[in-house]
Each structure stands twice: as structure tokens, then as C-alpha cells.
């Protein structure tokens, strides 16, 4: 069942691949675009590491849920809003490095969260042994660094992929990255050419998924073992504070100051907000329900990651084409089910990663040997371990789906507009107060959902304990 639904989630990717194989257009290597993409996405990854590492280390030494919620805020900031703020602040018109700065400042939470997750698996006994013999800096080099290196590599690659597939910021500053090329080719209905431009992205996504398969990313829900103290920890906290201030607190304050009549804006856009929450909620719950039923890894992971790494509109187009070719379009499109499927396909990996292998394989083998049925094994062993992560995964998918625009344009059922889509259009026309109010709402929804997710998970775990 889990595997079958996992295959269904590949439909958008399969639709795009099929269209590319059948479509018109020449395959050609986009060397210039890839050169620019390396600067933009590479620069974004470097900046995300610079900003995300101090925050990740600070989170690993703190148990405050509010800091984790704050860390998610920048991910929700529409990149083009940050780019518009750049223009509004009259900074010099950026080229590739400016785009890298904007994208890095939005995607650093990926690094921080993956680093923190990795630090929670830090082997305490190895750290204790090292601290008896070695100086603290050498213990960091010998024990902590080798432990977190794979997570940092994976995080950097994930940021690289997200930045490479982002379209709005390069489009605003006319920086010809590979995502711009994909859009140009699709605008000209040269699907095969668009696919050829996207192939390296898919290859990188495959490499990342392979790296993540070897890396235990998500620990049991226990606090990390503290390994820093004194001046180094205080310095890291100060840097993390600055990062939060610049990329989460300041935007929230600016939105709050610029927001017009918040209540009026919300009531006028209640339809869009309600639809967005419903859609994002269904995607989050559906994915978490699916991912939490499987205690094992899957060979399909690289493909789910590939769907995440491609520009959102590509996933939407793939879903549309596969539904058309299978004659399912009239059944799926008007209900919004096709849009829901595309959103779930796009963020499947984000739900799967935190929930895969929630318990040690030996526990499952022991349960099997003791004659426990798969259902009872899941209920007694997997579910209690997975619940806190399920809450976190649901929160992450909810946030990502709430801000998604690409598939929405292609697959929205008639009469429906999401809050993000509305926000984007308003922003284009300079309705700053309404944009600020809607952005503030998105921030508030993120805060509420992530806080609830973390605390509900924690309460349930405590009860089970």
C-alpha cells in the first residue's frame, strides 16, 4: 500500500519525462546557463552554510520550540518578496552574486535543521572518551566534525538544488540561470529542450538522495548532547541571534508595521486563506499518514527528491500531462485532487525523510520473531516513535505547500485562488499593505502549526512514556 502510493506520487515526474521524450525540441547542453547557476546556487549554498551552521549549533544546545519555529520563517518568505525588498532598499541591482545572497538568506534553515538533527545523534560516549584525552577543539575535529560532515554536505546540496530551481529571483534580476532556461523553453513549448536543461538537476537530486540513504539524518526524539560551552557557545548564539534577527524577526516586524487593517484584509481574503489551509493541511496529513506507515527505506527516494528539486511548475505540468494521457483529467481536475496529488508529489521527500526508519531495525526483527503482526508492530513500536517526527514533518509540509505557486496555476480547480497566488499578484501591483498583511498571516500560520506540531508530538510521547 505504502509502496503503491509512493509510485502514484511519481506520476508528475513520469508525466514530465514522458512529455519530454515525446515532445518537440532539440536536446542541447545549456553551458552558459549552468555556469551562472553554479555561481547563484553555489553562492546560495555557501551563504546558507555560513548562516545555518551557527543556528544549527545553537539549536542543538537549546530545547526551546520557539527557536525552531523562528528558524522556519525564512523558508516561508516568498523569494521574490525578498528580491523586491532588495530593490526597495535601493541596493545596487544584483547580478548572480546578489541572487545568491537572497536565496542563501532564505534557505539557510535547511542547513540549520539538518545539522541539528545530525547533532542529536552525536555519540555521547565517544565524545566523553575524547574529552578525557584531547583538547575540546581537537575533540570537535575528531568526533563532531566527521559526524556532522555528511549532514552538512547533504544540506548544502539540497540548498544548491532549491536555489538552482528557483525562478522568481533570477527572473526579477534577469540572471540567466538554468531555471530561467527551463521556463523559456517551456514558454516556447519546447518540452524536450526544457527537459534536457533540467537533466543535470535530476542527476544532482539522485546524487543527493544516494548521499542521504547512507546518512542517518533523523535521531530518536532526545535532546542533543551538549558539547560546547563558554565563549564559543556565546559567540555562536550571538551570530545565530543576528541571523534570526535579519531573516526572520526583521521581515515579520516590517510586515507588521506595513500591514494595513489586518482583520479587514483577512476577512476580504478568507476564501483564499481557507482554501490554502485546506489544501496544505490535506497534503501534510496525507503525506504523513503515508510516510508513517513504512518503517523502511525505499528505492524510490531519489525520484521523490527529483520532484522536489525541479521547478514547481514542472511538477504541475507533469501531473497535468499524465492525467490527460490516462484519461483521468475530467475526474481529478475539477475536484482539486490533481493539485493535491502534485503538491504531495512535490513534497513527498520532505515528509518521508524525517519519518523513514523511526526505530532500530533490530526492534522490528525482534517483534517479527516474537510473532507480532505487522499492524500490531506498527501500533506498538513504530507509531510511538514516529509521532513526534510526524508532527514535525506535517508542519514542514504544511509550510512548504502553503507557499507553493507553480503547480497551483496549472491545476487549481475553477473558482479557487490560494493566498500565496493572491499575494504574488498583489505584490506585482504594489499593494504593500495587503501583501504585508497576507505575509504576516502566513508567518502566523507557520508559527501556530509548527508550535502545535512540536508540542502535540511531545505531549503524546510523554503520555506514552
Amino acid at each position: 500500500m505504502t509502496r503503491a502510493f509512493g509510485l502514484v506520487l511519481l506520476a508528475p515526474l513520469a508525466g514530465f519525462a514522458l512529455e519530454a521524450a515525446l515532445g518537440a525540441g532539440q536536446f542541447q547542453l545549456q553551458l552558459r546557463a549552468w555556469g551562472t547557476t553554479l555561481i547563484v546556487a553555489g553562492g546560495a549554498a555557501a551563504l546558507a552554510l555560513l548562516m545555518g551552521v551557527p543556528v544549527g549549533l545553537t539549536l542543538a544546545h537549546s530545547r526551546r520550540a520557539s527557536l525552531r519555529t523562528l528558524t522556519l520563517f525564512p523558508l516561508l518568505l516568498p523569494p521574490v518578496l525578498a528580491a523586491a525588498a532588495w530593490l526597495g532598499a535601493r541596493l545596487p541591482v544584483p547580478h548572480a552574486l546578489g541572487c545568491a545572497a537572497i536565496l542563501g538568506a532564505i534557505t539557510w534553515p535547511v542547513v540549520a535543521l539538518l545539522l541539528e538533527a545530525s547533532l542529536r545523534r552525536l555519540p555521547g560516549d565517544a565524545l566523553d572518551a575524547a574529552s578525557l584525552q584531547l583538547s575540546s577543539s581537537r575533540a570537535l575535529r575528531v568526533v563532531v566534525w566527521p559526524h556532522v560532515r555528511p549532514a552538512l554536505g547533504a544540506a548544502a546540496l539540497l540548498v544548491f538544488l532549491l536555489a538552482a530551481s528557483e525562478f522568481t529571483v533570477p527572473a526579477l534580476f534577469i540572471v540567466p540561470t538554468i531555471s530561467m532556461t527551463i521556463y523559456e523553453e517551456m514558454s516556447a513549448f519546447r518540452t524536450a529542450s526544457a527537459a534536457s536543461a533540467a537533466l543535470p538537476l535530476l542527476a544532482l537530486a539522485g546524487a543527493l538522495a544516494w548521499a542521504l540513504r547512507r546518512t542517518p539524518m533523523i535521531p530518536p526524539s532526545k535532546p542533543s548532547r551538549p558539547f560546547l560551552s563558554g565563549v564559543p557557545l556565546a559567540t555562536l548564539r550571538a551570530i545565530a541571534g543576528l541571523v534570526w534577527l535579519a531573516t526572520a524577526i526583521a521581515p515579520a516586524l516590517i510586515f507588521a508595521l506595513r500591514a494595513g487593517s489586518f482583520g479587514k484584509v483577512l476577512s476580504m481574503n478568507l476564501d483564499a486563506i481557507g482554501w490554502s489551509v485546506l489544501l496544505a493541511g490535506a497534503a501534510a496529513l496525507g503525506l504523513v499518514a503515508w510516510a508513517s506507515t513504512s518503517p523502511r527505506r525505499s528505492r524510490l527516494e531519489p525520484f521523490w527528491l527529483a520532484t522536489l528539486a525541479l521547478p514547481g511548475v514542472v511538477a504541475g505540468l507533469g501531473a497535468l500531462q499524465i492525467a490527460r494521457r490516462t484519461e483521468l483529467l475530467p475526474w481529478l481536475a475539477p475536484s482539486g485532487a490533481l493539485l493535491l496529488l502534485a503538491l504531495m508529489a512535490r513534497f513527498a521527500f520532505a515528509a518521508w525523510l524525517p519519518l523513514r526508519e523511526p526505530v532500530d531495525r533490530r526492534q522490528l526483527e525482534a517483534a517479527e520473531l516474537s510473532g507480532l503482526s505487522p499492524v500490531r508492530t506498527w501500533w506498538r513500536i513504530v507509531a510511538p516513535a514516529a509521532l513526534p517526527r510526524a508532527a514535525a514533518a506535517a508542519a514542514i509540509v504544511f509550510v512548504l505547500a502553503l507557499g507553493e505557486i507553480g503547480p497551483v496555476v496549472l491545476l487549481s480547480p475553477p473558482g479557487r485562488l490560494t493566498a500565496s497566488q493572491h499575494l504574488f499578484n498583489l505584490m506585482h501591483y504594489g499593494y504593500d499593505d495587503v501583501v504585508a498583511s497576507l505575509a504576516l498571516f502566513l508567518f502566523g500560520a507557520t508559527a501556530l502549526v509548527t508550535w502545535s506540531g512540536m508540542n502535540v508530538g511531545r505531549l503524546r510521547t510523554n503520555r506514552l512514556a
Binding site: A171, V408, L410, P414, G415, Y429
Partner: protein, 322 residues
């Protein structure tokens, strides 16, 4: 958990079903403009409009791809586009149904498809926007923007997308491809700032970062109404003419709510609706009756050919290094 997921999905499905008294309108016109038109139509006829909007992020990708993919199983009834080129493209692809809209009889033949596949109405125009605090005599033609006296002081949106791409194609059609390519190469040589979109052109000019730029009338009106020190002038009134870009409306082939779609088209193309659009925030110009259009010398373009400009835009991209 599964019960919650099932409930959510059911709610989703139930909340999205269209009824026989609806009309589904696919529109690339921004929701803030279109919604007031839809509300007025519903108030007058009782027919509910279910719109599907495009966004600026998807550029020309969204709705056209969707309509083409839905051929054979159409979900929409009407296509209301912010220009005529996309409607012309859909006609070529066989996605439109010919329908002579009775209320549109007063609209001239240059603004409609000869076979009644689409009909134009309420137009925008490509204009030169300028900062009134910085210049008194704005450039009078697009060629003037390449004059060295404006070096580094002019902004133009990315010529590969949107109405700027349509402008490039229209210039190539009316003056020849070489002339259009040379013009944009001259603009590049004159350090014209190519930016992400027409609203950014307006904002750069309004802030005084540029003296003038090429943009659309609706962008200028939005800036003027919020108090920006900007004005606009219609370029090329001496020769060639200004590019006027009407909205266009068309009946989609196999429309599921065909009768309502025709009612909507009849209503949308009435002179009163054009007047309503002209009073909206984008001040779109009615194509009928006395008004702004009488004072403009409009460029004469073939929208069918304009929709087939990918090869030209590839050349522009290579020539400008974009």
C-alpha cells in the same frame, strides 16, 4: 489519522465541484481587476463565475499549457486573455470555438479574429513612462531611447517575456526583423537597464533611478494613483504607431457550460463593460466610441503571426546576451 485525511480530501472534493449554473473563466488578467467584472456579471445574471487565474510567476506558461493539455476534456468555458497573441496561438492549436459575439459588433476588424475565434476589447498600450521631476521633454519614439543623451537612464523589461516580448515581435513585424534586432542591440549599447518586469520599470522611473522607460499603461496608472511623479507618452506617433494590446475573449472548444459561456461573452463584450474596465485601476481603453483610442495612432499588427515569435526571441536573447 486516516479518517482525518479522508475527511479533508472529501471536503476538498465537495468544495470544488462546479454546477450547471456556473461558467468557468480562464483568465490571465490579474484577479484584482477581473473580480469586479465577475461580481458585476453574477449580480446581473445570477450565473456564478468560477475563475482560474494565471500568475506573473508562471509568465505565459500557465493557462495556455493548461488549456492545451485539457483539449478533448475541456474544463473551462471562456478564455479571457490580457492580450491577443495567446488567443491567436490557441486558435492555431484548435482549442477555440468560433463564436460571433453579438454585443461586439461595434469593435473594428483589426481588433478581432476574422473567423470569430476571439474578439478584442478594452486595451492597454505600450508607452514611454518618464519622471516629471527629472525631464520635461520625454523621448518620442522607441528609437529615441537609444539616443546617447539617455545613456544609462532608461529601463526596459526583459524582452523575452510578457508585453515587452510582444512589443519586440510587433516591431519586427512592422519594421522588419533586422531593424528590431538592431534597435534592441542599440538599446543594450546605450546601457539600457533590462529589469524583471514592467512594474519594476515604473518603480525605477518613479524613484528617479532612471529618467524614463518602456512599460504598459496600466502600470503607469497604478503609479500615478499612488502619487508617483510619473507621466506617460505614446511613442512612435509620427511613424509606425504605438503598440495597443487589447484584452481578448474566446469560447473554448467543447466548453462544458457552453450556454453560460456565450452569455458571459455577450456581457463581457458590451460597451458598458469596456467603460467599466476603463474606470478600473488599470484604465483600459475602450476600443469603441469616442475616447483615448481616437487620439492614438496604433501600430497595425497581425496577432496570428505575433503568436509565433519564438525564433525571433531566441535571436534577441543571443543578441542581447540575456
Amino acid at each position: 489519522m486516516r479518517a482525518v485525511v479522508f475527511g479533508f480530501t472529501l471536503l476538498l472534493a465537495v468544495s470544488c465541484q462546479s454546477r450547471s449554473e456556473d461558467v468557468v473563466v480562464y483568465t490571465s488578467v490579474d484577479d484584482i481587476y477581473a473580480k469586479q467584472i465577475f461580481d458585476a456579471f453574477t449580480k446581473e445574471t445570477g450565473i456564478r463565475v468560477l475563475p482560474v487565474f494565471d500568475t506573473e510567476e508562471a509568465k505565459t506558461l500557465g493557462l495556455v499549457h493548461r488549456i492545451l493539455a485539457e483539449r478533448g476534456h475541456p474544463q473551462g468555458d471562456v478564455f479571457w486573455s490580457g492580450d491577443c497573441a495567446r488567443s491567436a496561438l490557441l486558435k492555431k492549436e484548435g482549442a477555440l470555438e468560433a463564436y460571433r459575439i453579438p454585443s461586439a459588433d461595434g469593435i473594428g476588424p483589426r481588433w478581432r479574429d476574422a473567423e470569430h475565434s476571439w474578439t478584442g476589447f478594452g486595451a492597454r498600450a505600450r508607452v514611454i513612462v518618464y519622471n516629471t521631476k527629472k525631464i520635461k521633454e520625454p523621448p518620442g519614439s522607441v528609437e529615441d531611447l537609444a539616443d546617447p543623451k539617455w545613456k544609462g537612464r532608461i529601463a526596459v523589461a526583459n524582452p523575452l517575456f510578457g508585453t515587452t516580448a510582444a512589443h519586440v515581435a510587433a516591431l519586427a513585424q512592422t519594421r522588419g526583423e533586422d531593424a528590431a534586432l538592431k534597435l534592441f542591440a542599440a538599446l543594450r549599447a546605450n546601457d539600457v537597464r533590462f529589469v524583471g518586469g514592467n512594474s519594476h520599470v515604473r518603480d525605477l522611473v518613479a524613484r528617479g533611478d532612471c529618467d524614463a522607460g518602456l512599460t504598459d499603461t496600466d502600470d503607469v496608472w497604478i503609479g500615478k494613483e499612488r502619487g508617483d511623479p510619473i507621466e506617460m507618452t505614446y511613442p512612435d506617433q509620427g511613424a509606425g504607431g504605438t503598440l495597443v494590446i487589447p484584452n481578448s475573449a474566446a469560447l473554448l472548444k467543447g466548453a462544458p457550460h457552453g450556454a453560460n459561456a456565450k452569455k458571459f461573452l455577450d456581457w463581457l463584450l458590451r460597451p458598458e463593460t469596456e467603460v467599466l474596465l476603463s474606470k478600473g485601476p488599470s484604465h483600459q481603453m475602450p476600443l469603441r466610441g469616442p475616447g483615448e483610442m481616437d487620439r492614438i495612432r496604433a501600430m497595425n499588427v497581425d496577432w496570428g503571426k505575433l503568436s509565433d515569435s519564438e525564433a525571433l526571441l531566441d535571436k534577441v536573447k543571443r543578441s542581447l546576451g540575456l
